[in-house]
Symmetry: D2
Subunit: 139 residues, 4 copies
């Protein structure tokens, strides 16, 4: 497990007092924990801009399961040889609509392309890509 | 099932030609399908701004499963009487880290508050809320 | 001027080393400066969710200046008695298109409503709201 | 000026009725205008992902104008030979803070790098990049 280091950060009193109020409201127990989350979020956001970075992503879809052959198409697209589908979750939202969350591992650029291909299928009503970029888990 | 209506839309030739190129690249079979997706996305984005709108959301977490009692805390937070946890998916990312995706149903404001409380727990390394607002499924 | 306080933050070695690489690439001279910027950004993002928070925002528009009476409409919308237009900048982008950046001061909710009204005018081709929420300047 | 084309779009009655309510609230006079704005927004969002696309961007900064030599640094960074600073607007927000909006023209990648370098300067408290990608104006 990774060693923990302690660094010093200087902040204006006023900025610190606002930050303390915000993180208390969000439920943080310590400033360190809140700042670690900001740092991780920032690293993750920056990596997503690099098409070659390795990532895990959750692709969220809402679709009409009555659409002909939609499920086969979605499944076949996940079988790109450049991507690995780790897992998928399927939820019935109503009479027609399903929510499907597919967790993919691969390069950012490849994940984006595959997700766009899935989202553009007729019958897919809503689609989002949610990156969880953490390269250390992908090598 | 909902009736389909046909409307006319005027666009500058140049704008249309760029849009056609983009949606071909994304894999859309028709302009109607691409425009329907833009319309749904816009409706979903706007609803998320309203704390009282009913929504389904996927909360994505990365956390260290060795952290003491983290899983119990996450589970207990999902048992808010104002929210319904529809489903949860758990994936091992590596030796220490887990990816958990929790699908919640409830008011936008309540989902945000619960998700913030989960994300702020020590040991949760990354957290995102991904709304899939579709009020018709939540009444 | 606000007093400066110094706090200690604990981070895993691996996370810190990635953060150091990122901020060196971005041009930061110190970790404190980079973390202060993350904290300010987070505070600003959270305030934008509160319609009653006081804010300064830059509204960026691209529009065709040949559209009839567009400029009068944009100007009249800025004269809401609930908002103060601090300044506006106008740039010619080409034969037809202008870029206009309007800096408004007021409540977040009121700024959003006014900006939406401007963006929805026929002839306005692109519009974005960019919040610079800093309540201390607005009381 | 660009020719106008008329296309037909099919939408479910229920989706159309929600869209009509939303755009009426936003102040749109017609569906065509609202859909054109969605199409332009989507094209602009996609182009921003391409570092080589030509763009115009507004960089918004809040900084303490008492910081030593900050203004000279910001000015010198704008004089990259790969970018053209079209215009800049300066607004006093309070005793210490200034809002500066700089409009730059150049490649998306170069604009991002320059903006990051400016945002990372000590004394710059908040910075955002706001793309207005419209390649036809940049050749």
């Amino acid at each position: 497990m990774s060693q923990v280091e302690r660094i010093g950060v200087s902040l204006e009193e006023e900025l610190l007092s606002k930050f303390d109020k915000l993180i208390a409201k969000q439920g943080y127990q310590s400033r360190s924990e809140a700042i670690r989350d900001l740092v991780r979020q920032q690293l993750s956001d920056m990596q997503v801009g690099d098409p070659k970075a390795k990532a895990v992503a959750a692709v969220t879809l809402v679709y009409d399961h009555h659409s002909t052959k939609l499920m086969e198409k979605i499944t076949s697209l996940q079988h790109s040889h450049l991507l690995q589908t780790i897992s998928a979750m399927h939820i019935h939202l109503g009479e027609h609509d399903c929510l499907e969350i597919i967790v993919l591992r691969g390069r950012v650029g490849e994940i984006k392309k595959t997700a766009e291909n899935i989202i553009s299928i007729k019958g897919v009503k809503l689609g989002r890509i949610n990156f969880v970029t953490m390269e250390q888990h992908n090598d």
